[in-house]
């Protein structure tokens, strides 16, 4: 690097490899997708939509949080303990209720 024109402090700094690694690691963790915190209202809406759907045997749209992306499932639902069973066109899916971030009527 040319010391006259560049960021000379970048060339002269003293950073341990472990320090650099830790910075990167913490940055990666912070960049991770975080589960949204749902409001009371949103939870009530979801619960209402879910109970209506179960009672009337209608299909719903369920949005599920995963570390990579939100997954949207459409189908008939039943609740089993802490899990939600969604019968979609592509087959049956089990999702943890904790991962469900949205339930909407269609």
């Amino acid at each position: 690097m040319n010391i006259r024109d560049g960021n000379i402090f970048e060339a002269m700094r003293m950073v341990l490899p472990e320090h650099r690694e830790l910075m990167a690691q913490i940055q990666r963790e912070r960049a991770k997708r975080k589960r949204p915190v749902l409001t009371e209202e949103r939870l009530e809406e979801m619960q209402y939509a879910l109970s209506e759907a179960v009672r009337e045997g209608r299909a719903v749209r369920v949005t599920v949080f995963t570390p990579e992306r939100d997954v949207v499932l459409v189908g008939h639902v039943t609740v089993r303990g802490r899990e939600l069973r969604v019968r979609t066109a592509g087959g049956e899916q089990l999702v943890r209720l904790n991962d469900v971030i949205q339930i909407e009527e269609i």
């Binding site: 006259r4 950073v15 341990l16 472990e18």
Partner: protein, 418 residues
């Protein structure tokens, strides 16, 4: 016109402050603006040995004449009731990164400079930071509130002046100093030439050969006069003496790919045997190659550095290879050849091994004589075992000999206990 103000933020006695701040018995007494409320504590490389050196000392310990890099035995003679603790490097690094994140919250333009220093920058004049001193004080107060560590902040029109202003801030009550461009003749130029940051031995030359007593004397020298002595540095020296620095601030500079990888270790005693030095070289090379593999890179130039007994003298020599590699089996003979050529037989106190001229490794060079894919799988397996079970779960047999440093090194970060 709106320009950037640069700041250098440094932590006071960082390692020692981390130790004091994390021990509740001292918390009640400590006051932000009175550093004599800290206990007389030092962090010593190896508290069991009086020959270990002081890595950090609280301001209170320093008042007894204790200095960094002093032998522990000497420090204890100065003050018998000194509190001595061993280093906790992993903890300091964590605190460092958290403080760095706090700096970024206050000032999005931030660039870490060392474990306990970071540059910041913000526009001035601007509505966001109407009062630069208040903005700096806000950061300083937040560092104290969250970490109970005192910091000093130098503000100036560029990075180099910020570094110099930071030195002044250390001697200023409150610990914040703001130098403006028009202050340069009155605050920078009267300082002795040795105070110029970043010059190292060049400052002595300026005094001896060019008869410069102060930074102002350097500023008055025409750049042409410096040229013969300092080459490319002449312009940098000339600019700095005039309070000019062109370095910009790059918050993403840590994302830039490495230009090279190197490892260095200081030995517990002087090594005289070629076979013993070779063991250390191989261990360091393994670490360098491990990091190359993690980065999916290979290098074309490999270098060996030795520092001789008393940490004076030594060499660093590198050799460029016909093609890039990250295979220790290929690089080790080159290093041994460098050792054979350049080592004069002096006792060796520190060894460093580096690989640079890197390129990304998507293709594999096959060989007529070696089973390259098999060896690649071997290294992948070793890396996996180490990642899961620790650095010392699998090692070369030579690491178990008296010369081996790997087991001791694995307990350390930057040469000190993790």
């Amino acid at each position: 016109m709106t320009k950037l103000i640069y700041g250098l933020v440094d932590m006071q006695s960082f390692y020692a402050s981390c130790e004091v701040a994390s021990r509740e018995e001292y918390a009640a007494r400590r006051k932000e603006f009175d550093d004599s409320t800290d206990p007389p504590l030092v962090v010593s490389g190896d508290p069991a040995r009086r020959s270990g050196i002081i890595l950090a000392a609280t301001p209170t310990a320093k008042r007894y004449g204790i200095e960094n890099a002093m032998r522990l035995g000497e420090a204890l003679r100065l003050y018998r009731r000194l509190i001595v603790v061993r280093p906790h490097m992993a903890f300091y690094l964590h605190v460092s990164v958290r403080i760095q994140m706090l700096m970024q919250q206050c000032f999005p333009f931030q660039e870490q400079f060392s474990v306990d220093e970071g540059f910041i920058a913000f526009p001035y004049p601007s509505a966001l930071f109407p009062d630069p001193i208040a903005a700096a004080r806000n950061l300083q107060a937040r560092i104290w509130d969250q970490f109970r560590i005192r910091s000093r902040i130098g503000l100036a029109p560029n990075k180099w002046l910020a570094k110099m202003a930071n030195k002044a801030a250390k001697k200023t009550p409150g610990g914040i100093v703001w130098w403006r461009e028009e202050d340069i003749p009155s605050v920078l130029h009267p300082l002795p030439v040795e105070e110029m940051w970043g010059l190292k031995r060049r400052a002595e030359v300026l005094r001896r050969k060019f008869k410069c007593e102060t930074i102002g004397d350097v500023a008055r020298l025409p750049v042409g006069v410096l040229k013969a002595e300092f080459g490319v540095w002449s312009e940098v020296i000339h600019r700095w003496a005039n309070g000019i620095d062109v370095s910009d601030i790059n918050p993403d500079s840590y994302h830039a790919p490495h230009k090279g990888f190197s490892h260095r270790t200081t030995l517990p005693r002087d090594f005289y045997e070629r076979s013993e030095i070779a063991v250390v070289i191989l261990e360091l090379l393994d670490e360098v190659c491990h990091r190359l593999r993690q980065a999916h890179q290979a290098g074309r130039r490999v270098g060996l550095g030795l520092t001789y007994e008393g940490l004076t003298g030594g060499f660093y020599r590198a050799k460029t290879l016909p093609r890039a590699t990250n295979d220790p089996a290929e690089l080790y003979p080159v290093l041994l050849a460098l050792l054979g050529q350049h080592w004069d037989g002096s006792g060796v106190r520190a060894v460093s091994v580096g690989v640079d001229m890197l390129q990304f490794r998507e293709t594999v060079q096959l060989s007529l004589f070696e089973n390259v894919p098999a060896r690649t799988r071997l290294y992948e397996t070793i890396d996996e075992i180490r990642a899961r079970f620790g650095e010392t779960s699998i090692m070369r047999a030579v690491s178990l000999t008296r010369a081996g440093q790997l087991r001791e090194r694995s307990l350390r970060i930057g040469g000190h206990y993790a």
